[in-house]
């Protein structure tokens, strides 16, 4: 086997170089990158053409759903292979068109089946809907390809392995977009919750955008929870830097009774700490938290410690087969405890015992609202929030 094919500086070499960089960066993340490799990387990706190819490689590697039904070629096909890698495949195909027209069916490298094909198209369709809706401002330097979208349905947990060696566990009804470029690894949490285990690389930052804020990894595992109007970040290992966004200001905090964090452009949150910022720009204090309790959702248990019921319900709803909503005043009650994803109905019934609330089902929605104590009836608190 000739291992010393030297193409000279052709466009195809960039592709091999980009792929080699993927391996190098991944290894560097596992071991510890020497500054010499870092300098080399910066030099390589300073070239815009290299950058473009690296972005394309990243996107193609991340878009694994596209190749799910692909199969390996047969032994006979492998033996008949005449391509010598000396130029791009497109040029080789032009120069030597296949002698036998490719047959459908048996020679196809895809499993053909209408059911699975329909499912794949449905998945991709959902993906495409989200791609079109993504605000572009999330993706400086994300190239023109658009991000790869990962999503889960109600109650589903999904483990995603990214091409850089990082992995993400997605909670129920969660949507997440991934766009790797040479400048940075950008992830957007559009809704739901996720636990990030980041392969750290000082020259290739890992940045999570949620709400108006961004969370930048400094060697880390962390959880991000995107609620309807706020973002909660819990660091289980290492440190992150959080930029809560342009609206961040010194207004009453998200959690009443909690001191405000000083308004800084960047807030450092380390292992064992939690920080929240709201869409309106309010910031919580950086406070100590039980990181074990914060990760129990990956085993189907949601743990709460003195959390307003509206956030509890919003979160439980991501795992509930029936939609759950809460009224404005019931939503301010504070709940502590554990909710199992297979015991949501029991939990709902239990709410009536610990709080002055009524839980009733209207159409397909379970509504939690304040118990009507007035003798005339006609409760003023019967309106439940049905959309997050």
């Amino acid at each position: 086997v000739n291992d010393d094919v030297d193409d000279g500086p052709t466009g195809s070499d960039r592709w091999a170089e980009a792929l080699t960089w993927h391996v190098t960066l991944r290894e560097a993340a596992e071991k510890d990158l020497t500054s010499a490799v870092g300098r080399e990387w910066q030099k390589w990706h300073a070239d815009p053409e290299n950058q473009r190819v690296f972005d394309d490689v990243s996107r193609l590697l991340a878009d694994r759903d596209l190749y799910r039904r692909c199969r390996r070629p047969s032994r006979a096909e492998l033996l008949a292979d005449r391509y010598d890698l000396s130029g791009p495949i497109a040029e080789w195909r032009k120069a030597s068109p296949p002698r036998v027209a490719p047959k459908q069916g048996a020679s196809s490298r895809y499993w053909r089946g209408w059911l699975s094909s329909g499912l794949a198209v449905a998945t991709l369709a959902a993906t495409a809907v989200l791609v079109m809706r993504l605000p572009l401002r999330f993706w400086p330097g994300a190239g023109q390809r658009g991000p790869v979208i990962y999503q889960t349905s109600v109650g589903e947990l999904r483990n995603v392995h990214l091409p850089d060696g990082s992995s993400i566990i997605l909670g129920g009804r969660t949507e997440l977009s991934v766009a790797f470029s040479a400048q940075r690894r950008s992830v957007g949490l559009l809704r739901g919750e996720a636990w990030f285990q980041v392969a750290h690389h000082s020259y290739w930052p890992f940045v999570v955008a949620a709400g108006d804020g961004t969370i930048t990894d400094v060697g880390t595992a962390f959880l991000v929870q995107r609620d309807s109007d706020r973002v909660v970040v819990t660091v289980t290992q290492g440190t992150v830097e959080i930029t809560p966004g342009p609206l961040a200001r010194s207004t009453p905090g998200i959690d009443e009774g909690v001191a405000l964090a000083p308004v800084l452009s960047r807030i450092r949150v380390t292992q064992g700490e939690e920080f929240a910022f709201s869409d309106k720009g309010a910031l919580s204090a950086v406070k100590q938290t039980d990181t074990h309790a914060a990760t129990t959702w990956t085993h189907g248990r949601l743990t709460f410690d003195d959390v307003p019921l509206r956030y509890v319900v919003e979160r439980v709803d991501r795992y509930s087969s029936r939609h759950i909503a809460v009224s404005a005043s019931a939503g301010t009650l504070r709940f502590s405890g554990i909710v199992s994803d297979d015991g949501i109905d029991d939990w709902l019934q239990g709410l009536e015992k610990i709080f002055p609330v009524t839980v009733d089902e209207r159409e397909a929605t379970v509504c939690v609202h304040m118990r009507d104590l007035s003798p005339k009836g006609g409760s003023s608190d019967a309106t439940c929030t049905t959309r997050w």
């Binding site: 291992d3 495949i89 490298r109 369709a125 079109m132």
Partner: protein, 93 residues
């Protein structure tokens, strides 16, 4: 679990158009993979789909890891060439 519920929160407006874009993209990639030289396809499937390292791909195919990278990179380059030719990724808003 109720998958149907999640889908009702999507607007219907985009779905017809996006299904076409998604199907087009899948079809282009499917066709491109079928057109790959078999050894490139082999390396591509082993690395990208089955998650083998380049050392493992090389060992399986009887080549060096460097050549394994070359095979996969040529395959990726070809997929992108086909997608660019069809212009589905660039035209996505």
């Amino acid at each position: 679990m109720t998958v149907a519920r999640a889908s009702t929160t999507e607007d219907g407006d985009f779905s017809a158009e996006s299904t076409c874009v998604a199907r087009e993209r899948l079809e282009i990639v499917e066709r491109a993979i079928n057109e790959l030289p078999p050894r490139c396809a082999e390396a591509f499937v082993l690395h990208v789909l089955q998650g083998l390292t380049f050392e493992e791909v090389g060992r399986k195919m009887g080549i060096s890891w460097r050549m394994a990278i070359k095979h996969v990179s040529r395959a990726l380059e070809y997929l992108q060439t086909c997608l660019d030719a069809a212009d589905v990724t660039r035209s996505a808003p």
